[in-house]
Symmetry: C2
Subunit: 322 residues, 2 copies
């Protein structure tokens, strides 16, 4: 018998049954736990696989570990080789689970900013019937989508379905992308497309290459009235430059689901920046049942490949960071 430990914070009965049955068919026994303390010390040596959200600092406690599958898309907390009992442990993520929920979050935030929704909500809190305000639409807007993976593709498809004038994908290297992208460019060409961007969305992970990509100079390249939505990682963005661009009115608005630091302290200036919508890193959490369903499906799919000694479909390059 081989052993899998699942760090279970989001699974329902149906998900656990699916994992247990898939594992049994492949010769694995599954232990469900909340933290590592639920697993007796003298038994940790049996686990080859961890799934869910194991804390990075506990990975080295599993001497015979071969595979860590995190239930998130972002793996920045798990990429440091020194976390692992040996360098051959494979890390995989759950890219593919989050496209639906994060893309709906992006659309919602984009439209709230384009339609001046916060001003109408403020009036409603005061029982005040507000007059019309300038309104814009996704329809006819030029969208630049940083990141063209699962999340970026789901956003692009929806923006296109709503009639965006153009959807430009930005990624590390040019590869075939979903037809919802009118074109895909690399970061080297980003400065050319920013001045023609009405809606800038980032779903970029945190890596050495993405950190600080949206710096003050690039924010300055956006046209007056542009909006910015970040659902990737907060390190991509110069937050001080964003605050300045919102205060000056250069940007019409922004929505951050990710920022530095998280949680954001109560006295942080981001909270009071004008036309900034802050959500507490919830655009892609496991609150949506569909996300959990897909996450479990993807884990079970890679479990079969692991059992057969095949490369995992969602293996992460720890050096590259995604």
């Amino acid at each position: 018998m081989r052993y899998i430990a699942v760090f279970d914070h989001f699974l329902n009965r149906r998900h656990r049954d699916q994992i247990t049955k898939t594992a049994a068919d492949l010769g694995f026994s599954v232990t469900y736990c909340t933290t590592v303390d639920d697993l007796p010390e003298n038994e940790r040596g049996r686990y080859e696989v961890l799934y869910g959200n194991p804390a990075p600092e506990i990975l080295h406690l599993f001497p015979n570990l071969k595979w860590v599958c995190v239930s998130s898309a972002g793996v920045d907390r798990h990429v440091d080789d020194s976390l692992y009992p040996n360098p051959d442990v494979v890390l995989s993520n759950s890219t593919g689970s989050y496209g639906v929920t994060i893309s709906e979050h992006v659309l919602m935030m984009t439209m709230m900013l384009l339609r001046n929704m916060p001003a109408f909500q403020e009036a409603a809190r005061e029982h005040r019937w507000h007059g019309p305000l300038p309104t814009r639409a996704v329809y006819g807007s030029r969208v630049t989508m940083m990141g063209t993976g699962d999340i970026g593709t789901a956003v692009a498809q929806r923006m296109k379905a709503l009639g965006a004038a153009s959807v430009t994908g930005v990624r590390r290297s040019v590869k075939a992308a979903d037809p919802a992208f009118d074109r895909v460019i690399t970061f080297r060409e980003l400065d050319e497309v920013l001045p023609e961007t009405d809606i800038l969305v980032s779903a970029l992970p945190h890596t050495a290459e993405t950190a600080g990509v949206l710096n003050r100079e690039r924010i300055g390249l956006l046209p007056d009235g542009a909006i910015l939505v970040n659902v990737g990682r907060g390190t991509v963005l110069d937050q001080d430059a964003l605050i300045d661009a919102l205060r000056s009115g250069h940007l019409a608005g922004a929505a951050l689901d990710v920022m530095v630091p998280e949680p954001l302290p109560a006295d942080h200036p981001l909270w009071d920046a004008p036309n900034l919508l802050i959500t507490p890193h919830i655009s892609g959490n496991m609150s949506l049942e569909h996300t959990c369903d897909v996450d479990v499906d993807l884990f079970c799919e890679d479990m079969a490949r692991f059992a057969a000694g095949l490369p995992l479909l969602r293996a992460v390059d720890r050096k590259r960071g995604y």
Copy 2:
């Protein structure tokens, strides 16, 4: 020369140029005014056509009126025959202008309710990092769309593009509808579909038939956790029953862009109903330039038909009310 008066509250220079040129080519001269007082009394007899938002009570001041084209989709203020100098005056509306802007409003409101956005906004106002909340998505939801015209169709297309499990259209009589509707039923079958509705949207006009359609009994037929969005006319809905359904938690939320009365008085109980988002009848106003562009295109299109003695494409049946 024949004469057109345009009651101009939303046109830019480009729109006026387009109207003036189209009219000139067809033998019409155009006067732009804000109110009827801008038109000398002794000249009112020359106007055959009014376009824009002429107040209902001034229509009878134009003895030779033949056509009134309102720039809105709703015509409830203009359907009373006694408003007109003679019963042969044709009334038309601007259906076709509002699909984009109102459908984006509906999507935004729907996702704000499904994703518990107001709770996150309240926490953000207090600089509080809120934990995750239950989240739902348009993806996988069952949508019932009351009204299958321009607005209903635009909503259906977008819901379908986002992966709604089903989109059922509800209308007066079964007619061919856009393929985004999985099926179209009549009001007689509404009671059967309500228990299987996660997202109920109304874009119904005010008519003798639609008034009170969403009564207490029908709201009661919706499943627990359903949400309701009204962008048509407020008279469709029993507002007291909605408040009760929100207070009891039967409905998860609602969004009203239209209500009775408008403007809503500051002491009206709707303002404080839980999980109710109120906007001041702005989902389809002329703040979006695209809406104005299409509105002018449609007027010019029907102007050519009027000049040629052809039936207007958007003529309204005043008895039916739309």
